[in-house]
Each structure stands twice: as structure tokens, then as C-alpha cells.
Amino acid sequence: MQPLAISRYSVVNCLGAGSQAVTGAIRERRSGLAPCDFETVALETWIGRVAGLEQVRIRSDLAVYDCRNNRLAQLGLETDGFAGAVAAARERYGAARIGVFVGTSTSGILETELAYRRRDPTSGALPPDFRYAETHNTFSLADFVRRYLSLEGPACVVSSACSSTAKVFGNAARMIAAGICDAAVVGGVDSLCLTTLYGFHSLELTARGPCRPFDAERDGISIGEGAGFALLERKPAAVGAAAVLLGIGESSDAYHMSTPHPEGLGAKLAMTRALESAGLGLSEVDYVNLHGTGTRTNDAAEDRAVADLFYAVTPCSSTKGATGHLLGAAGITEAIICILAIGHDIMPGSANTRVVDPALGCNYLVANREGRVRRALSNSFGFGGSNCSLVLGAAA
């Protein structure tokens, strides 16, 4: 593919708001995970909760979109000067030439979960203040973002579980290559809700303590929440870009709805296609940010794919021990962590991982490693066997 400039990005999660806060946490190998205190959830598990969301006020003209997911979206758009950079791009290209391709898995379903507790005792009806389209519907996020940024180009939500916000880069890249857009806002948001906390618990996939990716004693995921956005533009147009998107690879597992292919076949295909799309050889990737959720089977399958493909040489790590698993927002968050790795020449170690599972073969970083990172690959895999890998590079 033609490389695309990532001219601005923003990130918010339990490590903090903004790339400086996230970079600082990575340097200190700090984790943002804490015992679950969300809503009335009574589960023995840890979560990555964004502080202060309860106090966020949605911009008054968009008050009908108020829900935890869109509050987190607004926080993301207001962080790292992102909304301002989009406004400048809108001046350059025109509002109709900028697309919005964002991802979420559960959107504002928390509103529906809470409304179901307040159903009319006789009719069973939902309370009159419940707003389906602006909160629950999967499209709500893209609708909110395009209105917030006053954009009039194509817009939609990609919702493919935990690969969603990696895959949006592909949708945007195609729209730009096809000449429908000059620029695009990509990324997305996922926020804490009962569906995912109780759902992953029912599958016995939540860790009791903080998640420990690739650890010999790993026992599941820690669910987190977060927002991340990136502004993509054609390369020559963007001066002073932060990084470039070099390649993207997508695949399906064709295996099982909630368990990855044990040999990581789908994962391997996604990585191979991403490298082909970037026109790069294996040795040209300096760091791999793994999906690394911390479940027994996910880490084992991804390890097989990565160790096979990169001959167990390329340094790799999961950053979910620090951020938790941001589900639909994992792709954009980890793409931005790769950009930070490239910008600061630091490969993040794996927070909370103590002893790497000796049965796993890839070159897994527990401690931070300093060193030149020119290109990084980021993996995101989701339920339904939906896989996506991104290749990111330095701007110059």
C-alpha cells in the first residue's frame, strides 16, 4: 500500500490522558490496573478504569449522546490537541473530504443494561429517558465523533470485537486510495460495561488478579477501557507527521467463535499480509506489540505464530499488563504505543509479567529495552476469528 501519514493522535486509558502520560507509565513500567470497583459488579477480577469519566460533561449541543462510551470519546478527541488538528485539516480539505472510520465492540450498551433495571413493572417498557440510537447502537460512536468534529465525509463503525480499531486503518486507507477521502479520522473507544465483565467471566477468561501476559501462571484478561484516535492523510500532504502507516493485513480464523486457531494460522496470515502490504521483510521489523491478552490459549496460539514467523528473534511484548485489554479499543491503543516506541526508541516491557512461560518461544520482553525502533508491527485478534496486523514506521 501507499504509506499514509499519521499526522496527529490521541490516547486515553487507565495509564492516563495523553501520550505524555502513557509514555511516562511505559518508562516506569507502571500498570493502571486495580481491583474491580465498577458499578455494582461483584466479580473477583481487576480492571483498567479511566478516572473521572463520571464527571465528564458531553458538549451541550450533543447532550443526547451522553453515555460512558461517548464521554470517553470526547475525552479522547480533546486530548493531545486532536480536535484542533482535525479542525485544521477540515480547513485544508473541506469537511466532506474527511472520513470517520472508528471502532467499538459494545458502544453505549451500558445505558441499555441500566435501563433494563428500570423497566416499567406492568408494561415492561424501557424508561422514557432511554435513547437507543445515540447510545446503544453500534453506530453511535461514529455519529458522535463526526458531529463533534463537524465532518461530512463517509462514516461508519467497524465492529469486529477486539480487532475493530486495527481494522479501521484498512477502511480508511482504502477510502483515501480510492480518492473518496483526502484524510480520515480513525480509532475508537470501548468502555466498561456489564456485558463484557460478566461475559468474559462466564467464559472463565478473566484473571483473578492483574493480567500477566505470557507468564507461566497467566490466568486470563483484565478488562480495561480507553479511547484512541489518529488522523490519517496522504503522505506528501502532511508535513511533520508523527509516524506512517506502512501496511495492514487482515484474515479470518475459520476455526471457532471464541478460541483462536491453536497454531495461530489466522494470526500468521494477518502478519504475513501486513508485511506484504508494507513491502517489508521480517528482519525489517524492530518490535512486535502482541495482542497478548493473558489467557492460556490466546498467548500460546499467538506465540506459535510469532515465534514461527520471526524465528523467535524479534523483540516483542504485550502492553495489556499495563492498560488491561481495551477490547474494541485495543487496536488503536497499541498502534499508538508502537508510535510512541518508534518516537522514543523504547520497547515496552510487560508490566505484571513475572516469569515468562518456558513453553512459549518468542523473544518476549519483560523489562523495557532501549534501542532503535524504526518499524513496529501491532497485532489485534478478536472473537469470531477476526485478525488484523498493522505495520507502523517512523515518519522521516
Binding site: 447502537n137 455519529d143 467497524v158 465492529s159 482504502r174 477510502m175 456485558t195 484474515s251
Partner: protein
């Protein structure tokens, strides 16, 4: 403008039982008689997966497989774009009901079926396809968003791709706040170049302004189009059924449109 050749069509809706029969109705050769949408689980799915699929997944698979049958292509080799406003609406209701109950007992199957890409996951298992697949939502314009994405894939990557759109009504109480008129599924297998199977060529353009949205002449079909997001592609399917040159305006996000010029392949 982006060009795509239609090689196969799938259609399942109330009174539109398959493309062969539905085509005659949409062409005006037979009257439209609404009847409940009938669909069975795909035999291609392994038995455990077959038991776990709800109506929306059955709809998506049946429409998709019909389109691939007509196109004569192996679904394992072709990428897919799934478009739906609400995914598995029965499943969402049952999840929310369980989470509102004191014991909060959620079934693992129900949880993994709650992802918006559940249909894509089952499709990949049924067809053994490891090809890329995306799952989109754009509220009432989900099928337009899917068509634009599919057209851009063909324009940029030059590979065939299938668009599969489906929607299925919520039960109460969600039905009262988001009524989806009926169960409806439609699919198009699209190719970058003319082949012997091609029935029409589509030229797709994004029109970033208000325009007159195409409607159906028949009041029953127009009610279906207006009432079900996935059925918003009916004017495009009608143009394919007519087999004449026609330009169809499909409403996209916030009053924008897709202009789809349809020309039959002789």
C-alpha cells in the same frame, strides 16, 4: 467513481424467498405478497455451531450462500463485508435481561454471539474462509456503508468481495425504541472485472449532499425498504431485476448519498 461487476445475488425477506422468485417480484412481473421470512440454519456449519446460531446469522449465511451459488465462486477465496444495524437482536435482549436479574447468569455462548461480527465468524467457519472480513454498522445506512466499503476494496485491491447485509427485529422492550420491521437479508458477490457470470456492472460514487433517495413503487415493498435498514438496498436489487440501465440514489450517513449507476451485462 468505483466499478464493480455483480456476479451473484442473494435475497431473503418477507415474501421475497430467494433471488429467483424475488427477482420476478422486484421486476414487477409478479405481485408482492408479504409473508414471514423463512430460513434454516446452514448445513455447512458443524452441528455445535449450527445449534448456537440465531435467526440473524442464519439470514446472513443463507443470503450469502445463495449469492455465491449464482456467482459460481468458492466462498473460501473471497473477502466479505457484513453490514447490519443491530446484529443479533434477540441475543442482545436476552443478555440485558440476564444482567438485570439478581444472579446475573450470562451464558458463554450468548456472550460470544453478542459481538457484531458473529455472523462473519460463523460465515468463516461454515465456508472455511480465511479471507479478510469486516463488519460494519451505520444505523439506517448500514447497507450503503457496506456497499461503499466493498466498492473501495474492489477499486483498490482488485479482488472480488461479497457484501452481506442483514437485520432482524428486536423483541420487546427494545422493539418499541428501535422497530426493525422484518427479517431481511441480501447479498451481492462483486468482482473487479467482467466474467461470464456477471449480470450487471455498478458504478458507485459518494455524493456528499442531499438528494432524492430512491424508493420502491409498490407500497408494501416501500414499507419494507423504509422499515428495515438492510432492505434499504431494495431499489438497487430492483434495478438489477429490471435488467435495464438505471441510476439509484441510496441514502448514506446524515443525508449524504451513494449514486449507483446500474448497467446490465449483455
Amino acid at each position: 467513481m468505483m466499478r464493480a461487476f455483480v456476479e451473484g445475488v442473494g435475497l431473503l425477506g418477507p415474501g421475497l424467498q430467494g433471488w429467483a422468485a424475488g427477482r420476478r417480484v422486484l421486476a414487477g412481473e409478479e405481485p408482492y405478497r408479504p409473508a414471514p421470512t423463512a430460513v434454516a440454519a446452514s448445513e455447512l456449519l458443524p452441528a455445535p455451531e449450527r445449534r448456537r446460531t440465531g435467526m440473524p446469522v442464519k439470514l446472513a449465511l443463507a443470503a450469502g450462500l445463495e449469492a455465491f451459488g449464482a456467482a459460481g465462486r468458492d466462498a473460501a477465496e473471497v473477502g466479505t463485508v457484513f453490514a447490519s444495524s443491530g446484529g443479533d437482536c434477540d441475543n442482545v435482549h436476552l443478555m440485558c435481561e440476564a444482567l438485570a436479574a439478581p444472579e446475573r447468569q450470562v451464558s458463554p455462548t450468548r456472550f460470544h454471539n453478542s459481538v457484531h461480527n458473529a455472523a462473519a465468524g460463523y460465515w468463516s467457519i461454515a465456508t472455511r474462509s480465511r479471507a479478510p472480513s469486516t463488519s460494519l454498522c451505520c444505523y439506517d445506512a448500514s447497507v450503503a456503508a457496506g456497499l461503499l466499503d466493498a466498492a473501495s476494496q474492489i477499486a483498490v485491491d482488485g479482488d472480488p468481495v461479497a457484501l452481506i447485509a442483514y437485520d432482524h427485529p428486536y423483541p420487546e422492550p427494545l422493539n418499541a425504541v428501535r422497530p426493525l420491521g422484518a427479517s431481511f437479508g441480501a447479498a451481492l458477490v462483486l468482482a473487479p472485472r467482467a466474467t461470464a457470470r456477471a449480470i450487471a456492472v455498478l458504478d458507485v460514487a459518494f455524493v456528499p449532499q442531499k438528494a432524492a433517495t430512491a424508493r420502491m413503487d409498490d407500497p408494501g415493498l416501500e414499507a419494507l425498504r423504509a422499515g428495515v435498514p438492510a432492505a434499504r438496498c431494495l431499489p438497487l436489487l430492483a434495478a438489477l431485476a429490471h435488467g435495464a440501465r438505471e441510476t439509484v440514489m441510496l441514502e448514506y450517513v446524515a443525508g449524504t448519498h451513494l449514486r449507483v449507476a446500474v448497467s446490465p451485462c449483455s
